[in-house]
Amino acid sequence: MDLTTVWFALIAGLWIGYFFLEGFDFGVGILAPFLGKNESERRALLRTIGPVWDGNEVWVIVAGGATFAAFPEWYATLFSGFYLALFLLLVGLIVRGIGIEYRNKRSSTAWRTRWDMLIALGSFIPALLWGVAFANIVAGVPIDASKNFTGDLFTLLNPFGLLGGLTTLSLFLTHGLTFLALKTEGDLRARANAMVMPVGIAAAVIAVAFLGWANAQRGSTLSEVTSVVAALALVVALVANRVKREGWAFLLTGVTLALAVVSLFAALYPDVMPSSTNPAYSLTITNASSTPYTLTIMTVVAVIFTPIVLIYQGWTYYIFRKRVSVDRTPVKS
């Protein structure tokens, strides 16, 4: 396999990691103020992601860095083109990160309520916008002969883009709920479990519509197969939730997200950013990539260090494997 294809696959892998991991903490961030009825409940809910959210977020930083290193033209066109969307996304990520870290630094109720709302909003914006961004990348956006995006923010807010946004939003919410069902106890656990079904069904309908539409626009055998399996995984996740297999339900909502990413990347390949202006202007894994030498260096680094990262991140989840209970989450004065 060509190194450009390897890096295309590796970047897909980083997005899988990101959606699988930060997907649930976006979900928890949005849900916490509504699912938690009082301070100790909200605190317990946010505590489930406390030790891990920052490590989860690094997946997107590495995805961005890897895109810069392996496909500089893709990075340049995408980041300069989706300018205001990325600005909003950054504001969301900044506000929510600070919120999660600072909400318990003071005991005032007003302080905490304000941060909870900002965490929810700061999780909602990226959960929606990542989907908008990916939908537009796959569908193609106006790109000129010198590889520059020629649209604006409203170019991205087309029906297909917005459906993509709703897809990631609803899938992250479902994934967040299956995560909470797995990580909490008592009332919270029961409430999260009860919400999986209605939210999950809505997500299934939206995701099927979106992936169907995406494949109708530009599909390959791989993208079609993975879309179907993604939908099946979500259905099985809902069944697992019904029969109280919380671990399986969480794993399967994660698999749904992972396969949705695979499907979108498979549909994209070998383009990385198709041009809707003229197919000849499309960015591909070939005309957007770095030199073979750079890709080789990057491959060596990735092969050595990715397994190490997976091991210690996995270990963290093992250390914090216990459920978080409201009783054992004291309210700090």
Binding site: G65, T77, I94, I100, R328, K332
Partner: protein, 466 residues
């Protein structure tokens, strides 16, 4: 206001802001790790309480460093897409490696440290903060290697057909002499910054709240001051080495920083030179003969090239154009960097002098204690402003001018929205952050009892977790 100017302002604002928090993170991580290790080794409760006190300041600061770091990675592509296309083959690798090697390490192990009280075996728990600290230092090296390549490009070839610089020797980029010396300079400055915060805070507690944990705060004020002084020495030594490297690699920067218009041999060092606004009359001029020659070349009779001669040389090499950076800004930021750093060192020396043989500083120390943490922050900012503005008009020295690096897609309105947006958001965060820091300092040392002999995991992270 064009997109270029606004993009430059945005980079300046977001980067200077980000770099208020970065050195504190780099330094406080190790100081926290030191206190934690001291507790682990001695079992003295005082060290546990100090670990939590300093650790809390570290975490409040770290959170802002993390979220503003996101903007740093995104804005190369957002505002500087032409630059990104030109350098991506070289510049992208250290960024990606920084994420994979360093960011995963620091974020994951800090999560373990924050929530690991009573849950991890004590030895393992100490190790987590040390690993996180190592991650922060690793991250500093990689991003400075990327920056060093912009100051002094090595290990590349320009492919004119592809319109980009291409990597030919990764090891040369990774071991760029500019990167190595800048890393040591920045790490030393980080310890100076963190030492100043710790010393200032402890001294403030000691003088304004006597009788409460005096022993711990006295020890901490001393530790902070000693760290500051040692780091200050390292900053000065490495700064001198950087100056000599700069003379060889970016002579225009040192000439502009010294406002040396004409080549001199030997060259005098201008302590302070003030000219009339139109630059024709010299109002104040205090110079020390031969010293600039020594600083720049290591020889008291060395030749130092002046701005005018370099401008003529560069026109021959690079074609017609203005290759002179903003001289008043480079001249003053250079001096203010050194001045603010020196003042911090003097304050630390004074603290140590006043605390000798168990004595206590007078109330007057409160003002110095409050001002001290801000001096290195100013010095750090002036240092970056000097080195980045001193490189202009280049974005990559000798290869690409800043004006050629900006995103051609940026409109004035777009960049205006983001400049104003980030500035307002960052301003609000600063208010919240400083408020929290002040609250923690006013609260003093947290109680340690909760940690010992833990029966319930719930109480384990009472001081830290959420």
């Amino acid at each position: 206001m064009d997109p270029l100017m606004l993009s430059r302002w945005q980079f300046g604002i977001t980067t200077v802001y980000h770099f208020f928090f970065v050195p504190l993170t780099l330094g406080l991580a190790w100081i926290t790790a030191g206190f934690h290790l001291a507790w682990y080794r001695t079992g003295k409760e005082q060290y546990l309480r100090l670990t939590r006190f300093v650790g809390e300041l570290f975490l409040i600061n770290f959170a802002i460093g993390v979220v503003t770091g996101l903007v740093q990675e995104f804005q190369f592509g957002m505002n500087w897409s032409s630059y990104s296309r030109f350098v991506g083959d070289i510049f992208g690798a250290p960024l990606a490696i920084e994420g994979l090697l360093a960011f995963f390490l620091e974020s994951t192990f800090l999560g373990l440290w924050i929530f690991g009280w009573g849950r991890l075996p004590k030895g393992v728990h100490v190790a987590t903060i040390w690993i996180a600290a190592l991650g922060t230092a690793l991250s500093a090296y990689l991003i400075l290697a990327a920056n060093a390549w912009m100051q002094h490009p090595v290990g590349y070839e320009v492919n004119t057909a592809a319109g980009r610089a291409e990597l030919k020797d990764f090891l040369a980029v990774a071991t760029n002499d500019t990167a190595v010396i800048t890393f040591v300079h920045v790490m030393a400055a980080a310890f100076l910054t963190a030492g100043a915060l710790v010393a200032g805070v402890a001294m403030w507690r000691l003088v304004s709240h006597p009788g409460k944990d005096d022993g711990a705060f006295r020890a901490t004020a001393k530790v902070g001051s000693v760290i500051l002084l040692i780091a200050g020495l390292a900053v000065a030594v490495t700064g001198d080495m950087q100056g000599k490297l700069m003379t060889a690699e970016q002579p225009m920067k040192i000439a502009a920083g010294e406002a040396l218009m004409n080549t001199e041999q030997p060259a005098a060092f201008s302590l302070i030179t003030i000219k009339s606004l139109d630059g024709t009359q010299t109002l104040v001029d205090i110079r020390i003969p031969n010293v600039l020659s020594f600083l720049a070349t290591g020889n008291f009779n060395g030749k130092v090239q002046g701005v005018n001669d370099l401008q003529a040389q560069y026109q021959q090499t690079y074609g017609p154009g203005d290759y002179v950076p903003n001289i008043p800004v480079t001249y003053w930021t250079f001096r203010l960097m050194i001045g603010a750093g020196t003042l911090a060192a003097l304050a630390a020396a004074w603290f140590l002098f006043r605390m000798r043989k168990g004595k206590l500083p007078t109330k007057g120390a409160v003002t110095v204690a409050l001002a001290l943490p801000f001096l290195p922050l100013a010095a750090n900012s002036f240092g970056w402003l000097f080195t980045e503005i001193g490189r202009q008009p280049w974005i990559v020295f000798g290869l690409m001018q800043t004006s050629a690096g900006v995103s051609p897609t940026s409109t004035t309105l777009d960049v205006l929205i983001t400049v104003v947006g980030f500035t307002v958001l960052y301003g609000a965060l600063a208010v919240v952050m400083v408020g929290l820091m002040a609250r923690r300092v006013r609260d003093g040392l947290p109680e340690a009892a909760a940690d010992q002999g833990l029966e319930h995991e719930a109480e384990a992270d009472l001081g830290f977790g959420y």
